[in-house]
Symmetry: D2
Subunit: 477 residues, 4 copies
């Protein structure tokens, strides 16, 4: 399966420590939130009975709504093991009728080619339509039903590793969502300082790349030289599904701190020549595998061009979340191929160490401590190694083709962007230093080339890179 | 399969002669409409190529949109055989990968119970997901895409009898629609004289039970003592999917002409005690089998009660579309059991005929000709026979249970209503005389009993009838 | 006073026979409408008391609303003399406090120049603020209050000639309306076939130039090559104040029947080079003197240019409502200067009459009877005389400058348009023949010249005319 | 004149120190805001010329809009003396034509009673209509024009004392606003956490009674047991004109800190029996004298009752802004009547002072310093004196009747409320201690009595007080 990469999982690999959690505990202030509870035997029996009633479909819409409401109320008050029991019940007892399925399989195998085979195929498909999914679709009757199911799938995904029997349920929910959250059903909306505060505080909670520090920080990100867009679904009108923050600037930005500086004067947006996508966050864990990131960027480019016809450059300013993890492992393994010959000598000399990898590790330790300015030798080594990491390190996909190891690179390069520039000290926050030695990257969305890049990448994994990056790839002497 | 009965197919069995057709030819006035054309070999090859490109998914959303736009344009300009070729192409060449499907079947048959079986089931389901449906779902990208697919299915349904290979396509579209047009996604809207004229003229076109004669007739049906409600889907915002017309009156109405009389003064709606549903029309042939009629009536009852808390009675004033067809066949077969002994004599005497069925046929001919007042003997016989027809004549469903033969009775009784009253000369229009000897029927929606009636009917086909109808069932002496 | 000319009073001098009346009697069908009644002594005393309570302002908003509601109910059920009594009561008993006014006058006359004079002026203005207008402004509390006052002023205007004491009331209402209906408060809305039917039927009722015959006629006027715009006020959201109908065509239209032909195919609006304003109707008699006609045309030109950038020509196709009235009077007075010397001979010869005016009158009678084609000699004479009428016949305004006698000419030429073309047999309906011998006129709104034309006309009454019209002005030999 | 008291002027007498100013300097951060500049001779001549062009009305709407836009731009960049010059120009050179006015006065004085007098009155009124106001009304053409004029009047009001010649301009703007901002034109809207952040930050800026400390404080004030309502005008859609904050609680609140406590759990609003209006703020200085405070409270009571039918008590929790100012003056003047005989002895003894007023002053100083708990003797004296201040201290109005000296009391008692309870230490913030020795007051809006209270107060200045307050009025022994 060629599951698209979700950008948030990507641009923010180690999930924001405390952010969302702290926020939610504020929303549902400790005193009021009730502890979730285990499920009782009676409750489990009741759940089974209610599932059955959902299938029998007694009464009209009102009865159906009452039934799913009671299930929502039960599920919401259960703790994790309790929820797991309910999901397991659903997965195991409300699958397709195996007898009917076997009959349909036999009929299919027996059918001659042509019309009869088509009809047998249809019967087989109907036999596979599970009672589970008929139950789940009834939650759509509730105002909050779609959001509820999305949250249920987030639970399923968490438990999937330990409970493979939930796979069918997961796949059915994913199929349902890929129909419901079809791009044609999504609405692109601009989010601005005139948006409801209740929506804006969700941005604060969900922002997964560069944490929003305060309402003032948020206001700055929605100033006249900034844009923010999100996809919404009509059945979850108050929940952004994914959002992107854009800065309108003179030229391709190389430093996130400049963009987020609240004291900097606003730029005259009409004079902007570059639009920098500096943060993309998915918000719904339960929509994993339902892809809209690529659509979002392309639609936002259209919106921006309509408003600012002078824009020439569309690029991201992105983190490199996996760089240090990869690099530190290589260094620990004393991989001599990391450095050129003369470089090795220089490193040893500078660090006063015998072995180049040790030397490098020591220099890293010193160079990034206490806001020291890392030395030139470190800059040269890291810029080269980062280019190598982004362009040459691949992971094989289930399907087959090798894709970039770095998840953000995988997302943007797969989307048709070009790896344009690697920026030294683009983000010197502790987290960025820990993840990427402070390096940030520009992926360029060049309108004329996107399609070709996308296809070359899809076909044989080729990635588009600029001349500057090509130069960085040459190993320093 | 327990496919719900669509009410319009029902309340208007012989489709409105000329109505819709005349209307559309007005809309697209003869001079302007272009004749639809046959498909060329090149066009068919192009269609095949475009279908393939849809699956390959080259380019972004814009490319995808251009592709389906070109398919829509092609399809729209084709004549019926041309469209059939395109649909056949889709049905036959873009089904599931048979090899992969057979592998998945084998894996399923081999899998042990439990988690592994669940995973095999999931794989089987994925293997069945046909390329066809992936193509069709891309039409959702277009503003008019949902309506286009609904119209395509109308074409499929028309061709289905002669081309059974289209069954799989039909089933896939039906499954897609039953997800898209889920009741949770529908919006109930009141239609009034303040609705857009462009919407109101669709009521004129779509009204399938009692034809709307003019804008003045329409205005009368939207007066202060009338209500009209329809279901809409957000992706087809200008198309009512089904609509119902309601009259607010003093008591249960027995005559359609009184309700539609443009000269009658408006009733003070706040004093109304009865709400009469006198017309329900489905509008989209392509949504056959996607049921919302029952939901509509129940939701409208809620709306009406909220606005007029004094309402006591909710009932229909409905046609009996199949009565004469059934009766005439029996009479032609000289079924002696139709009439009581003394009745037979009376009929022969009145008609001056030797055989009671012949006599009856002659009396019918005379009684309803030239707006004559049919004689009492005819009234007695027809009221009894109509009760018998509605209550006792059944048709076996595919699933098993016997359901009323009359489609309107099947719809309302299955919905939980009670057959309340049979009204002599309730509709003396030529069409109603031809279908039902001028008889109309009230089905009563008694809020407390709906659920029980619905279930008794679902369980063992029992129908709820009033004492008055019970009396009519006794054969006249 | 330099009161602007209201276009409807103009483009439709003899009010539409039966149109509005017939419509309203349909709306409020005879059986339901209650006859309006005379006022009783008690009712008049009650009105006086309620007016006083309005001024005392007892209670809060709810009491104030109840008071004006009772006044509205009273007024609505009164017949014309009854309404007149109420208005007279208001005009005569609720004027400014004369004592206080005289004191304020004295103080003003005594005040020295400068700040003190300014304060005295302020006190004088306050002393003039009449209780009447404080009462009337309270009707604004009602949802329908603004429309009510507009209708009240229509009553005042009708009675003004016979009751000069209503002049103060009229002026106060006019001042109030010119504040409320300030152009900044009006909203330009496009009216289309997607507008509410309840609004569209008002177009049918209000259209004052070319009567709308049917819903089908209306639909044709809202087709893809037509536009209709109206001004609305937020407090009368369902009432168009003035509306204009526009045809998008290839070139300047010369014949109204072609524009209104329901059988003609729709023109591709994107290819249109000319926008023809073929009907402008004011709808509210009570807003006489509150001018928005000129604004409307200029705003609509902006809207059209935004939608159709290729448009080159903006022109009207207008009636000449006063032509025959002027001409017939001259002919009756045997004005020999109407015709050239040889023309006189020709007319006498053709008509077989001794005197040219008699001859002309006879030819007119024959030429336009029974759809006969009028002879060439008539065409030549009438085209010349119409040009003369439009350009040379003036009426002195109260202020001073001479303005065109023809009201439609006065409106458009005063607005900055140019008299562009006179069209023979542009409208052969009986009404147009009776008013203008079937002639129609194009006034051209040339964007670059409007302002200059407007000012030349405002300064010294000069009118802009085309070369073609100049040629027509030369007397035929 | 009986000008209504504007509540904000009232509930927040010493304008929020720094609040709005600080906010605006944040909005238009120092670096970006341009310093306002003096007017040049050329600019003043240009302004005069543009004013004249406004009156001549050359060109159409677009020209008129350009003219006023240039005036707005000029005015906005001027410093205070520059603006004053422009306003003086307008006031002095664009008043009514004195000659015409004198003629109209003479005609009025000469006219006989009846119709002719009415017409002369009309002519006089027209002669008084100043060119100034015709100019000002053209600003209505601009999107921001209404807000601009409101801000201009704020400037006029500030300069009025030193420039009495601006009085006429002030009165004309006030008259214009009282027409534009008529209660019938205002829209009551609920403000909630789902309102635009750009609106919510205005609450933060404008709150004039209990300063909003942070977004979290604001969020707390919009929680489920709180309501906030504001009046808006359609031409200033983003500017609340006046807003009120309401707490839904169990019983009449006596302490503002409890209401504003962010840590307190939300109360179940459906169980609330009392609605406490704890803050009312006017926001537009330029709308002084245009009253909507009374309407607001009564409309909000209606809204609340519709949502929460169980509410029994509607009351304010209000400051007493003038108490200390009055009291301190009396104490300074050694007014012996402030205290009872035995009280005087007790005060002297407690303070160790010879004179009771000195003693009281010393006790006040000590009692409220450093959050000390003031002694019982102080409580007794202050509660009595506050009741006396509120009930017995009056100021004569221009019109005649004596009204409460305290501005908040004047507003609520004039509105029909009852002085219900005086709360010791209801607000211990430094500002409240300085203004009112920490005392807060409940004014009760008892629905059945409002009208009677309002009228008794309007008639003879009587105020409604509870038994508890009556008891406090008795001088302590």
């Amino acid at each position: 399966m060629n599951k698209p990469v979700a950008p948030a999982a990507v641009e923010s690999v180690p999930a924001k420590a405390g952010g969302v959690r702290a926020f939610w505990s504020w929303l549902t202030s400790a005193g009021r939130a009730q502890a979730r509870q285990p499920i009782s035997g009676a409750e489990l029996r009741q759940a089974r009975a209610t599932f059955r009633e959902c299938l029998e479909g007694k009464g009209g819409e009102a009865s159906a709504r009452r039934r799913v409401e009671s299930l929502v109320a039960l599920y919401r008050r259960l703790n994790d093991p309790g929820r797991e029991s309910v999901l397991a019940l659903l997965a195991e007892e409300f699958g397709p009728d195996e007898l009917a399925l076997n009959r349909a399989i036999q009929a299919y195998l027996d059918a001659p080619q042509g019309g009869e085979r088509r009809q047998a195929e249809t019967q087989l498909r109907l036999a596979l339509a599970s009672p589970r999914i008929r139950i789940l679709r009834q939650f759509n009757l509730l105002h909050e039903g779609v959001k509820f199911l999305v949250d249920v799938r987030a639970d399923v995904l968490r438990q999937l590793r330990e409970r493979p029997a939930l796979a069918a349920l997961d796949e059915e929910l994913a199929a349902l969502f890929s129909s419901w959250f079809d791009i044609g059903n999504l609405e692109l909306r601009r989010i601005s300082w005139s948006s409801p505060a209740a929506l804006l505080e969700k941005l604060i909670a969900y922002e997964a790349v560069h944490e929003i520090q305060s309402w003032r920080d948020l206001r700055n990100r929605l100033d006249s030289d900034r844009r923010c867009y999100a996809f919404f679904h009509p059945r979850m009108p108050d929940e952004p599904l994914i959002f992107v923050e854009v800065a309108l600037v003179k030229e391709m930005a190389d430093n996130i701190h400049h963009l987020l500086d609240e004291e900097a004067p606003a730029f005259d947006a009409r004079a902007a020549q570059a639009a920098i996508f500096y943060s993309i966050s998915n918000t719904q864990a339960g929509l994993k595998g339902v892809s809209f990131g690529g659509f979002l960027i392309k639609r936002v480019v259209e919106e921006l061009l309509a408003e600012f016809p002078r824009l020439k450059t569309f690029a991201t300013l992105s983190p490199v979340p996996g760089f240090r993890k990869w690099l530190d492992a290589r260094v620990a393994a004393k991989d001599q191929s990391l450095f050129g010959r003369r470089e090795r000598e220089r490193l040893c000399r500078e660090a006063g160490a015998a072995e180049p990898c040790d030397a490098f590790a020591q220099l890293m330790l010193r160079g990034f401590v206490a806001e020291a300015q890392p030395p030139e030798s470190l800059r040269v080594a890291l810029m080269h190694l980062c280019a190598r990491y982004l362009v040459e390190e691949k992971a094989a996909e289930p399907g087959g083709a090798a894709r970039p190891l770095d998840p953000v690179a995988r997302f943007h390069l797969g989307n048709g962007a070009r790896l344009e520039r690697i920026n030294w000290l683009g983000d010197t926050s502790p987290r960025a230093v820990k993840q990427a030695a402070g390096i940030m990257v520009n992926y360029l969305y060049k309108l004329d080339d996107i399609e070709e890049n996308h296809e070359a990448h899809a076909r044989d994994g080729r990635v588009a890179i600029s001349d500057a990056v090509k130069r960085l790839l040459r190993k320093p002497a």
